[in-house]
């Protein structure tokens, strides 16, 4: 996999979510990941984009979503950044807790963590940055949770 970097500035719309997912799918596929991994990467990016558009920027037309892909010989690194108030990490529920199982939301970050090898979330007052890493032939090929 050659070293490359691609970046996009996207509006805070639902179209952005679909576009981010499709772009992630294409780049992951071009990077040599298998079908299952491509699906996992695309879904993780979709969920992160949903968080950025809905919870971060709250559909504000003045606010943008930055989406970056970096291909290195060892990994695909994806960064999604919004311009919201910063995610409150303490308010992210455990969707597997019995009392949360029947909640209708709160599974996005969990799915992202399930599908990627490494996830870093950096909230700040100027927005939230989430970095997703999938290693080439990584230790969790097929997904950490999915393989259990």
């Amino acid at each position: 996999m050659a070293g490359d970097r691609f970046s996009y500035k996207l509006d805070s719309t639902l179209d952005t979510v679909d576009s981010a997912e499709q772009t992630a799918s294409r780049i992951a596929s071009e990077s040599g990941f298998g079908d299952d991994e491509v699906m996992q990467i695309a879904m993780a990016v979709r969920e992160a984009a949903v968080n950025a558009v809905l919870h971060g920027n709250a559909y504000d037309p003045e606010k943008k979503v930055d989406l970056e892909f970096e291909r290195t010989p060892k990994a695909l690194v994806i960064t999604i950044r919004d311009q919201g108030k910063g995610m409150d990490m303490a308010k992210i529920p455990d969707p597997l807790a019995p009392e949360n199982l029947l909640k209708t939301s709160g599974r996005g970050i969990f799915l992202i963590r399930s599908f990627m090898d490494s996830v870093e979330i950096h909230p700040s007052q100027s927005g939230t940055e989430i970095k997703l890493i999938k290693h080439v032939h990584g230790p969790s090929e097929g997904g950490k949770e999915a393989s259990q």
């Binding site: 639902l14 979510v17 699906m39 879904m43 979709r46 969920e47 949903v50 809905l54 969707p95 597997l96 199982l101 029947l102 909640k103 209708t104 939301s105 599974r107 996005g108 969990f110 799915l111 399930s114 997904g143 949770e145 999915a146 259990q148």
Partner: protein
């Protein structure tokens, strides 16, 4: 492809054949509306055939949970039929597989309704 649905009734069970994607936005709204419509007409036995649903995101999962609890709270039953591997895996990792009554055979699913 966004979610497409068609409705049929077998032995008093309302089978919703779904195809496409259940995702944030239109896909989730389509599912919500059809369940709401069925309940509004007093149809409380609902079997969601997801055999042609090739993609679902966290919002779609939330919509399935919402449909399940809404039907249950109104004294009805909602079951899932013919999960694709992707949807099956997602329900497994979110621990929802055992919450839903999941069937892989339509005839036995229909018989399972009270």
């Amino acid at each position: 492809m966004n979610l497409k649905t068609s409705l049929r009734q077998v032995d008093g069970v309302n089978i919703v054949d779904c195809s496409g994607r259940i995702t944030l936005g239109e896909g989730s709204i389509v599912l919500r509306d059809i369940v709401k419509d069925l309940l509004g007409k007093g149809n409380k036995k609902i079997l969601l055939n997801l055999g042609d649903v090739n993609y679902i995101d966290s919002s779609g999962i939330g919509e399935l949970v919402s449909a399940f609890t809404t039907v249950k709270n109104q004294g009805g039953e909602l079951k899932l039929l013919n999960l694709t591997k992707k949807v099956h895996d997602l329900l497994q990792i979110t621990k929802l597989y055992t919450v839903f009554d999941v069937r892989d055979d339509e005839a036995s699913a229909i018989k399972a309704f009270r």
